[in-house]
Symmetry: C2
Subunit: 454 residues, 2 copies
């Protein structure tokens, strides 16, 4: 029996095992759930041992444990690190679930449960892909390391230092993650780039206490008026960011990328309509997909100052605080952008006002070259499993762990989303289509072979 | 004995009466103090009867009562309406008072108590001025109406309808108010103009729910970014308000006014320093006094939107709300300014965002001509009482009741501040200098004669 035949013959068992895994309420944000989070880790350890991986370990982190495994029996072949997470989001609001979040049900060809797609289902598909090889052939065609953490939904707080401390142990040629979505139903995709982030907090102060606008208004600086001036100065009329040097490190989209994105099925009015906005708005000369995937931004995230209660109070406020952040694209770095933005702020704000700038934790944008061997392998595996040509996509958000792997392990990450955009991750009635689970397992089976042949 | 001799002979008794008045904790904001507020009104009614006024009435309003009196025994002479308030601010924070707020003490030539200057002391000085005439001559040289309300510190909520309903009863040639300050110690002043107000609340909405800035940032409008653009559009580089038509109705300062203001003792660095601001900032071409007294403004009062908690959250906010207000100068009207500002907003905000504009209650700016007979009389009385030439000043804030008298009774108001800028009204250790109380009484005694001769 080939690995793919094995996988096809075991679908019912694999599904039941996933349902068992989903029954463990491993909510990492919830302190009371800590024993359940550990139970999920233990379940995974014994499961990984059961499928025949050589080494399986549970690592304490100070928070929820990391499950680590490896099977390095293919000398001369590439080494791939598979990353996933076994923790899940809280299920609130509970009353909106049609069936209890931790009592998985299969209905209309979908598995309904918290964690079904994010990320128990997706990472379990790879575990089953590995099992198919191990059971059918007694080994794996490539060297595999597996890292499944329990704190992704709480910001992977202990992961970075653990990766740093285990740099040698984790050394590999590429990282593989399935914790996102295909481009659309039936249309698999490789995500080869993610945006980074630089996050700022700013406080502008005029008077050192709130003043009466009748007694002082017009003669003493108003920090909200001034912050408005600053906000306006960040963009020009065409939606370009007007900070000197801001675009210097931006890798412009290639014609191939633009053509590829333009060819994707994309309904602009559906995209805008899903947000409830009247119309899209952004940098002139770029499509919505290009704006979100491949252009840097500067968006205010929050603002507060002065009198915000009911009714009218004629206060000339002392200060205003705001948070804003730049989504970055390759090859911008948070550090360089922080410096440019801070210099622009200092230059723009009138000297009669005091300015404090704070830098929150940012993240580097990442890009995996589209001709990397692991990308080629993933494209091949997806095509075999789904029977269609996969597409290249980028991501507008950040996956911090990808930047960590890039920074610490110096290897690219290949993102193979096995979910769908309507999977309702982080929301009630999260689901994972059976088709995606089973084709995900097939993808994984093919992938290890493709990697071995690359 | 002349009225002025009578007043001088009775200083001790007048002081003791004021201390009695100050002992009544007539805190209008505090529901539990309602019986004390009424006790103050009753005390005033019996006191006004006691000094010999013809008619003294207590009027129910639905809130705290209005004390009204009149003495109309000078046919052919002007009729003057004296306005004051017998309610006081809450005394909090109590622990900062050096002596209990409602146990008045006289120390270092000053009366310390809540309400000492605002407005029991100042209005009582006029009551004593009237008493001096009534006791010394048996009558008053002019026709006098007295309106002392109990809700000034809660926005005079029942006064406007009462004035409307008693338009005939209150008809007069001028209104007189002492509820403010002299320009400086020893330098009496007539305030002949107050700024008005137009108060706005605005909400700008992009998406109809908060979005993830990674998935949508750059392609969907950001309401805070857009509000910043709007805020910036309200002023030009020189601090002028850049709304078309905004200055059309502004009565420009006369050279006489500018010269007068420039001659006033005014320490710019003290003015700015008292606010804690690094430097003043305002409309180019005007001094701080001119900016505050005679130029319209547009100041943001408060703003809130998006994520305002601790730390960083990469939200693309759905909406932002802000309050802002224009101080108006003669002959601007709130209605016209509301229309101009709203038109500018609708023209400026990008059509991809929804805008809601709300108008809060505003107030008309007021100006009393400097050659009005009541102004001349007040100048004369102040000069006699204080022995120096009084100065003309304007006020940057609003006194809503002045606009009411102007709108409903169609008469000008003369503002004769008897307090000092360091009287700490609305703060702990409020005080009223004995010199100001006694010279205030003298001012009042002279004033009724001056008005009779005008
Ligand atoms: Zn996830
Ligand atoms: Zn007052």
């Amino acid at each position: 029996m080939t690995p793919i035949e094995f996988a096809e013959s075991k679908q019912d068992e694999f599904l039941n095992e996933l349902l068992d895994f989903l029954r463990i309420p491993s909510i990492s944000t919830d302190k009371e759930s800590a024993p359940d989070v550990r139970r999920a880790a233990d379940w995974l350890v014994s499961h990984l041992k059961g499928i025949g991986l050589k080494t399986v370990e549970l690592h304490e982190t100070g928070g929820h444990p990391i499950v680590y495994a490896e099977h390095l029996e293919a000398p001369g072949k590439p080494t791939v690190l598979l990353y996933g997470h076994y923790d899940v989001q809280p299920p609130d609001p509970l009353e909106l679930w049609e069936s209890p979040p931790f009592e998985p049900v299969v209905k209309d060809g979908k598995i309904f449960a918290r964690g079904a797609t994010d990320d128990k289902g997706q990472s379990f598909a790879h575990v089953k892909g590995l099992e198919a090889h191990l059971k059918a052939t007694g080994t794996l065609p490539v060297n595999v390391k597996i890292l499944i953490e329990g704190e992704e939904e709480v910001g992977s707080v202990h992961l970075d230092p653990w990766v740093e401390a285990n740099r040698e142990k984790l050394s590999c040629d590429a990282v593989l993650i399935s914790d996102s979505s295909m481009y659309a139903r039936g249309l698999p995709a490789i995500m080869y780039s993610l945006r980074g982030l630089a996050y700022f907090e700013i406080e502008i102060e005029g008077a050192d206490h709130d003043l009466h606008s009748g007694l002082f208004g017009g003669a003493i600086p108003n920090p909200i008026n001034e912050l408005g001036r600053l906000i306006a100065s960040f963009h020009d009329e065409k939606g370009h960011i007007a900070i000197p040097g801001f675009y210097d490190a931006v890798r412009e989209l290639s014609q191939e990328e633009r053509d590829g994105f333009a060819a994707l099925p994309f309904d602009e009015s559906e995209f805008v309509g899903s947000t409830g906005a009247t119309a899209g708005k952004g940098e002139a000369g770029f499509t919505s997909l290009e704006r979100v995937w491949a252009r840097p931004t500067l968006d205010f995230n929050g603002i507060i100052g002065g009198f915000t209660g009911e009714g009218a109070k004629t206060v000339l406020p002392s200060k205003v605080r705001a948070k804003f952040s730049c989504r970055l694209v390759p090859d911008q770095t948070p550090k360089a952008i922080e410096e440019l933005v801070a210099a622009h702020i200092r230059q723009t704000v009138h000297p009669s006002l005091k300015v404090k700038i704070e830098f929150h934790h940012g993240g580097r944008p990442v890009m995996t070259e589209r001709d990397h061997f692991a990308v080629n392998s993933a494209m091949g595996a997806l095509k075999k499993a789904w029977g269609v040509d996969p597409v290249f996509i980028r991501g507008g958000g950040s996956i911090p762990v990808v930047a960590t792997f890039s920074d610490v392990l110096k290897v690219p990450t290949v993102l193979i989303g096995l979910g769908l955009n309507d999977d309702r991750l982080h929301s009630p009635n999260e689901k994972f289509d059976l088709e995606n689970f089973f084709n995900g397992i097939k993808t994984s089976v093919y992938l290890w072979d493709e990697l071995a042949q690359s």
